[in-house]
Symmetry: C2
């Protein structure tokens, strides 16, 4: 696994009770893409199995029922994010045990573990670190419109909706680019991406005026160290709740190219079913025309999530999607990333 950019090889236990693997996006993302040495997954519903038993693309990591059954580790990572980002009290024993065993905590919850009196006290006592990755740092500011000044080409994943695979597509393209020998980096913008990378600004959690600035800051920090930067997009420009973050990332990143991510067959905004999704060409127009006044950019390729379809149906769906986009498209997790990467790199 080479997608992590932090080079953090700590031994990590990933908490994913009752939601593994399908509703544990952070856990599976960390298992697939992070540099950590994941030594166990906590899932009280599936003790005695392996992550790979549940999904073939995951590594062979044992699942145990609680922290008491976990092997020696350096950190406990909260790998699930309930709606609202709260803390589930049924996890308290595991977190307490982890601290008592000297593990650091890594969490992307909206509920900051540093603000939990018991955990904060115990952590201070045991000298372990609590890393609330969703807590923005203090000196964020407004964008200066300078992201385009860096040496790297900026490739942004944009979406037709939430949860269509923008982070995964960015990370798969990163790996594919590196396999070709391209000096490529990753800009995380959400808690899972940050946990995988070991750094980053939680753009959905910053002060709204600083949305673009939080992205720009990361790009300016590493943009001269790479030839290509894959920026993790968030939400969708037509999302009734999250479009502000999408728009801020678009203008803060000033992309050279965009990859439109979509889930095959989805027709309405997830969780907002009264909002029909517009046709694909309308998305392309919207992203390109909104980007243009800040930085000219094109949707150069598409990434389609076909995980619920059989192979034949998946290939048909990809063909249809490419036709609607009028650009190369693939399910780059299921098939391969070559054609999309060619388009992204202009090759």
């Amino acid at each position: 696994m080479t997608a992590g950019t932090g080079g953090d090889s700590r031994r990590v236990v990933v908490l994913a009770h009752e939601k593994f693997p399908d509703r544990a996006k952070t856990a599976t993302g960390v298992l697939k893409y992070a540099d950590y040495d994941v030594v166990a997954v906590l899932d009280r519903d599936n003790p005695g199995t392996s992550a790979r038993d549940h999904r073939a693309d995951l590594p062979d990591v044992p699942i145990v029922a609680s922290m008491d059954d976990a092997p020696e580790a350096d950190a406990l990572l909260v790998g699930i994010a309930p709606i609202g980002g709260g803390f589930d009290e049924s996890w308290r024993d595991d977190v307490r045990t982890a601290i008592e065993r000297g593990c650091d905590l890594i969490s992307g919850l909206h509920y900051f573990l540093n603000d939990d009196e018991e955990f904060a006290e115990l952590a201070a006592e045991r000298g372990v670190e609590i890393n609330d990755v969703r807590k923005p740092h203090e000196d964020l500011s407004v964008s200066q419109g300078r992201a385009a000044d860096v040496d790297a080409d900026i490739v942004l994943t944009v979406g037709t909706d939430c949860s269509v695979g923008k982070m995964t597509v960015s990370l798969e393209l990163l790996e594919a680019a590196r396999e070709r020998g391209v000096d490529a980096g990753f800009i995380p913008t959400g808690q899972t991406g940050i946990m995988i990378s070991g750094w980053g600004n939680p753009v959905d959690r910053v002060v709204s005026d600083f949305t673009a600035g939080a992205v720009e800051e990361m790009i300016l920090e590493v943009g001269d160290d790479y030839d290509v930067l894959f920026v993790e997009g968030q939400g969708s420009i037509v999302h009734p709740a999250y479009s502000a973050v999408t728009c801020g990332i678009l203008h803060g990143a000033m992309p050279d190219a965009m990859v439109l991510c979509h889930a095959a067959g989805r027709e309405a905004i997830h969780g907002y079913e009264s909002f029909e999704m517009p046709p694909i060409p309308e998305y392309v127009d919207l992203y390109e025309s909104l980007s243009a006044p800040v930085s000219e950019s094109s949707v150069v390729a598409g990434a389609l999530n076909t995980s619920h379809l059989d192979d034949g149906a998946a290939r048909d769906a990809v063909d249809d999607y490419a036709a609607e986009l009028d650009a190369p498209a693939a399910d780059i997790v299921r098939f391969d990333a070559d054609e999309v990467l060619d388009a992204v790199l202009g090759e």
Copy 2:
């Protein structure tokens, strides 16, 4: 003055040192539109003059050099907002004196006066209230996409840039509508609007994920009490730094109609001069096409700020702007609001 919606008739002193009137948007907004009884303006550069001496559209309020020279009052309102929203130490004596005289504080600075040790202690001692209007309340959340459900028609001001008069246009339309007997209300989204209205969410200061939700919350709160709601827009959809807030307000407000605000002659984004402004029809397309997937809405009229032009040039500029927009337009501060209001109300 009838635009204030809070009915707050406290006697207020407005702090505007060295920036009155042209760089004191909050001070002049409060003087023109709020229900407060403004008893003095603090400006050490202009003691002995009247607000009206500086701008004919302002009321006849005395300007004094310091809080020591101010008449009896119930509150001190910070009417200027330096870049970055910090606290200017040269104001400390005035703020201290105000608290000592029993005045409440009203401030829209990013620097919260409640967090200033001296002011917080002194305020507790004297029993006065410090109202940091830019501090978002704790239980904001994501939008549910429901603003369109309220009884009121929603009219949103959108802009070609920052500082083109969106708040002023909303308030002038509010007054004009009320003069016609329309039951109209105002949704503030920035610190000046909030100070004028006496309530509201500082949308540019909320967690980015809650941008649309912060607007929706206000509309749901009062939207069934009015026939028309004028929503104060922020920023511009093409602004390199602030577009996220603009986009969140657009989708959170789900407007029935939009009024495009512009400053005559401006050709580049203010403070971001390397970013050329697109042609007016492109703005119209962008706002309408971005709004459509969440709520169908049209730019029905334009508002042009011509304050730096003579009357003849102003009229020419308005005619040109109306032609570019292909819709009625006016400088509704300088001339009258009738034609724009007709378009907004569909009359």
